[in-house]
Symmetry: D2
Subunit: 264 residues, 4 copies
Amino acid sequence: MSKLRVTIWNEFVHEKKNATVQSIYPDGIHAAIEAGLNELGADELDITIATLDMPEHGLTEEVLNNTDVLIWWGHCAHGQVEDAIVDRVQERVLGGMGFIVLHSGHFAKPFKRLMGTSCALKWREAGEKERLWVCNPGHPIAAGIEDGFIELEQTEMYGEPFGIPSPDEQVFISWFEGGEVFRSGNCWIRGNGKIFYFRPGHETYPIYKNPTVCRVIYNAVKWAAPQGRWVEPLKAPNVPVDQAREKITAKGGSLHAEGEAGFR
Amino acid sequence: MSKLRVTIWNEFVHEKKNATVQSIYPDGIHAAIEAGLNELGADELDITIATLDMPEHGLTEEVLNNTDVLIWWGHCAHGQVEDAIVDRVQERVLGGMGFIVLHSGHFAKPFKRLMGTSCALKWREAGEKERLWVCNPGHPIAAGIEDGFIELEQTEMYGEPFGIPSPDEQVFISWFEGGEVFRSGNCWIRGNGKIFYFRPGHETYPIYKNPTVCRVIYNAVKWAAPQGRWVEPLKAPNVPVDQAREKITAKGGSLHAEGEAGFR
Amino acid sequence: MSKLRVTIWNEFVHEKKNATVQSIYPDGIHAAIEAGLNELGADELDITIATLDMPEHGLTEEVLNNTDVLIWWGHCAHGQVEDAIVDRVQERVLGGMGFIVLHSGHFAKPFKRLMGTSCALKWREAGEKERLWVCNPGHPIAAGIEDGFIELEQTEMYGEPFGIPSPDEQVFISWFEGGEVFRSGNCWIRGNGKIFYFRPGHETYPIYKNPTVCRVIYNAVKWAAPQGRWVEPLKAPNVPVDQAREKITAKGGSLHAEGEAGFR
Amino acid sequence: MSKLRVTIWNEFVHEKKNATVQSIYPDGIHAAIEAGLNELGADELDITIATLDMPEHGLTEEVLNNTDVLIWWGHCAHGQVEDAIVDRVQERVLGGMGFIVLHSGHFAKPFKRLMGTSCALKWREAGEKERLWVCNPGHPIAAGIEDGFIELEQTEMYGEPFGIPSPDEQVFISWFEGGEVFRSGNCWIRGNGKIFYFRPGHETYPIYKNPTVCRVIYNAVKWAAPQGRWVEPLKAPNVPVDQAREKITAKGGSLHAEGEAGFR
């Protein structure tokens, strides 16, 4: 069986600028996630790293065409992601690429693009306790989680309302020590692509060194793996009259000359 | 009871440039829709017209803040709609404004923004017959439709695949003489706003002079009327530690100084 | 404007058998809910009471045909509800009647019937604190709730996983003092009917005397009010060949004689 | 890799009673489906046959516990399926078993149970042409379908309205020669199980000998294969106070003695 091709995208900014973050993730958050995934399935996964400062943010046509699942971490530099790259990520997700968005990625451009909503939420940085409850104990993304929950001693809080379309499947909901709740593991399908948003994070805590968190990301990678491809999902083809499946003849006025493309 | 405030947006281009369109809609498609709505509920509706060539495309903050339901017609000039106006329409829909998108509006910027998908489809301009079947005979948008279907003698064909998120409710599906089908009446909720896409159209046929088509748009206006408002849906407020509902104390590293806004 | 016809169904068992419940709800839970609704909209609502011990549980064809929204409370006597009445409730919901299910009604026969899933959950009776967070501040069911949450000092706990189909809209999620979370305000559409499940309750606490809880039920009644009726939603009509919209002639073998009903 | 365990359930009545059906399916519809699946993946599939007249309709605890995907054909004998078997099928689907329902199975008890709706539709037996359009060309269930559609020269017609909950994913919509349309390939998730309804059929035409129809069923089997199991999805466990994740003490009245089961 061929390996699943995973690309981990990291804006890779805070790790170079903030001392706390640097001490936790000296090689970048992407390196921690890569290590966590390899721990669980080095034989099954073929991992590529892409960062903001690479040409085309590391997400060239070639890289994305050879990516089965894209993992996204971003926080302080969302605005620096080029729209052309956002277009490309969106097209690939609609075509079938899996897309896993972590924590502060709720405001990442490609996530907002695919959701169509505000993706806004409430937040508090107090290093408080979070408990993620499993809403479907048989869900492949929750595989291997004992007792029906994950506990994280220190996290940033995200609270409802979370400005998202209703999830197709709810995998986790979080309880916070300070009294809030949050839809923290959410699945959607858009076009032919599976999208998973997973809340835990914040770069000032060693979240992505937690084996259960890594297990969830690993599970999500396998869940989101494409089972088919919608080639050119953005195409809006004209069907010529003589190629209609039922015999018809054109009648009435028309705007387009024969063979002309439609408006966009 | 106060009137429902409806804004009809029309790019208003083909009616001034194409002789066929001009002969059918000499005063613009918006005028035909306005007449159709007034025929059914002049006493209940307060209608405003907005067009592409007005300042801010006629969709100023003031106009949108006083709009309950926005109807959108656009075709050849989608690309000329300013992104700032698209942002504003999206924010108002998330806040609760109803949004009714007609025919070629499937490629309108605010519709694509809210869907997050390609919104692409197949098409053919042959003036063929379309029959829209009602999928829920009790749905308020289908009120007053006899026999469970609408027949239109001449329409442009739109065919599946239609690149949309799965509709929350399916009100109509179309059958075409040339052999295709299409999800032609689709409901979604995004944020607090109700969205309805209604397929029939094409400016070279007198679709918006058809009383049943106008009836559906009228029904959709009433269905999409806001029942509440999500004020400032884009806000992502910080909850200070001392305002947490449960007593907590901050521990661990943090990225943000107190009171600082989050990243976008 | 004609009044909204609301029927409150209560199994009305614990109030007659358990001293604690009796002291809180001497006239029955239905009476408390009725009082709460009348406090907010006596002029708009026409309320009928139905209980398990009435003939046909008080839900005759006539009562249901004259009900716009049915509110359901049941707990220890779910099993005593006749299947014929469940059939009738289901048919009316599919036809357009609103259906509001409270607390332990998660295991009520008509709710399980309409959901198709287990409707199971975790629970604990410790009189602990619950905080229901609003997930959509503009939602009509959340109208009038201050600060984005409801706090109840003493409730029974219900915890995830909750065995339901993914809600069409999430209005509330609960946080519990003991550490759990729960999807506590959930909307679905089935057929032409709107369904709202609202979690707070337990007959040993005065939940339905809380004005905010009553406000939510009142809001839900208005939200669930039918906007149309799907008459005879269970009918599966044959379309005779000569009544097809397109001219066809029968060819090939057939199982049914002309005019014969289909199998069920 | 271990084989996927598929059980084909057939009521197996018309094939023994009706001469036309017998001539097309002398060994039963199940045998045709089995042959079609084996043609495509004999090495991957381990197929069991179950029929109405077997003890427990062939769907014993043991058979269902060893079934990954259940395919269901029924028509004239829906009413003879025991409710205890329906309960069992439902529990297994909620636990993760895939469930593929064919044609007249729209009125099968376990399908109606899982949908919660009428599952009613319009129908006509005229041997007319059907064309199933693919709504998502990259969907695994549509793999291998050329040109975006399937054409069947002779089928029974099913028409909208189809009384189902909105599908999570729309894979096919049908066009009929006589003028109707139908949602003919629909996906849902319930609990942890994937459900696919596939319309083509009617026992008086050799539908299940059509290689493309068999290909779709084969694709659906692979799509619906469980990726995890929700063990005992019907359980509603009590969480004792001393096992709460956060320290609480019981206060206030309670209905249940410690350790007592909840009401159903």
